[in-house]
Homo-oligomer: 225 residues x 2
């Protein structure tokens, strides 16, 4: 994947910890110890993703984030010590793509970085056309057809379908689907999944039967009945 990540944090230890984790995965890291320095680096180097501590002297995380957004759509992951709702909502509203609560594990950081990069990636690597029986999906264009007829899906429906198509035959529990489509911070009823499965099935018509219920477990997409 080989992306360059800008780490903005006033604590040296934290920056080095993140660098350690990320360089192990093959990412390139650059560090800035405050918002001003971060903005400068952003202007001068190609940055693919920013990891940003909320609590910083001088230019704090929120304001830094807003400044970045004035000029760029680089994905931003927030780093926060407080896991409460306000932080989260405010953080995401302001243009962050994800957040990580301290303390965090190496796996967590790396997983989030991959996830955010994958979500925001322009086009290059991802396979863009998928087919399964009568269903054809152009991922890039987010267009779905069934027997050549276009079908309009909402965000969640589309992402559910994509996940199923990419892991045909595998059974997913509702929790797994929520994790992977809604994100690991989702709170709420797991029955939400059912409703989306229902609408997806209806929109897919006959082909909706390819999404099979696995009683007591969850759902899977299977062409072989």
């Amino acid at each position: 994947m080989m992306a360059t990540i800008l780490i903005v944090d006033d604590e040296k230890e934290m920056r080095e910890l993140l660098r350690l984790y990320l360089e192990q995965e093959g990412f390139t890291c650059v560090e800035a110890d405050d918002g001003e320095a971060g903005l400068a680096m952003l202007a001068n180097a190609h940055i693919d993703l920013i990891i940003l501590d909320i609590m910083m002297p001088k230019l704090d995380g929120y304001r830094f984030c807003m400044r970045v957004r004035e000029q760029s759509q680089v994905p931003i992951i927030f780093l926060t010590a407080r896991s409460d709702e306000w932080d989260r909502v405010y953080g995401l509203k302001i243009g962050a793509d994800d957040y990580i609560v301290k303390p965090f594990s190496p796996n967590e950081v790396v997983a989030r970085v991959y996830a955010v990069l994958r979500r925001t990636k322009s086009s290059a690597e991802t396979l863009t056309k998928h087919e399964a029986g009568p269903i054809a999906v152009d991922e890039k264009a987010r267009k779905v057809t069934v027997n050549g007829k276009p079908v309009v899906l909402t965000l969640k429906e589309f992402e559910l379908l994509m996940l199923f198509l990419k892991h045909r035959g595998q059974v997913f529990t509702r929790e797994q689907l929520l994790d992977r489509v809604w994100g690991i911070h989702y709170v709420g009823s797991t029955r939400t999944v059912d409703t989306h499965i229902k609408t997806l099935r209806i929109k897919l018509g006959e082909a909706g039967q390819l999404i099979q219920t696995v009683w007591g477990v969850g759902y899977k997409f299977d062409e072989t009945i």
Copy 2:
């Protein structure tokens, strides 16, 4: 989830406390009272996760962790009395996946264990195809065939079969089967097992004979009659 957890701690009470919490959730636990013993167990048994006290005589937690990492990627959760920064950063740097500060609540331990297992599961995901004589199982897809013909199993039937396949030849009492398939919170008659064995045998046809009755004890799955 059915994972085996290695608890490494020099205090007996602590080990027993953790075991209590974890076994209630259906995890299998093994204990070691120092690092040396821990390494030995790791070499000889399949371990899915390690819970490790940092403060130990002889081989301390950090060094144990490093030794483990030389040979394995098993997830490790640190147990620490000190919540200060140094412990944390150093612990994570050295390859731990999470840490728990003493004193801890049952919920906390269990939650961390689940979280870590979930994060690390996907990659290490257990073998997904199993075979025994004419029976073939794709665990991920939850599909079973006998002599190539698909057989539809219910949840309990499937999980019973999986347990048998993973421990061929081992005799299970009804209580053990209830513990491991239904969970330790099951209340009700043990004869329920009999009924499920019956339906499983019927659905497997000829191959159903591989599930053998051990009179006065329970059942086992055995290919050698």
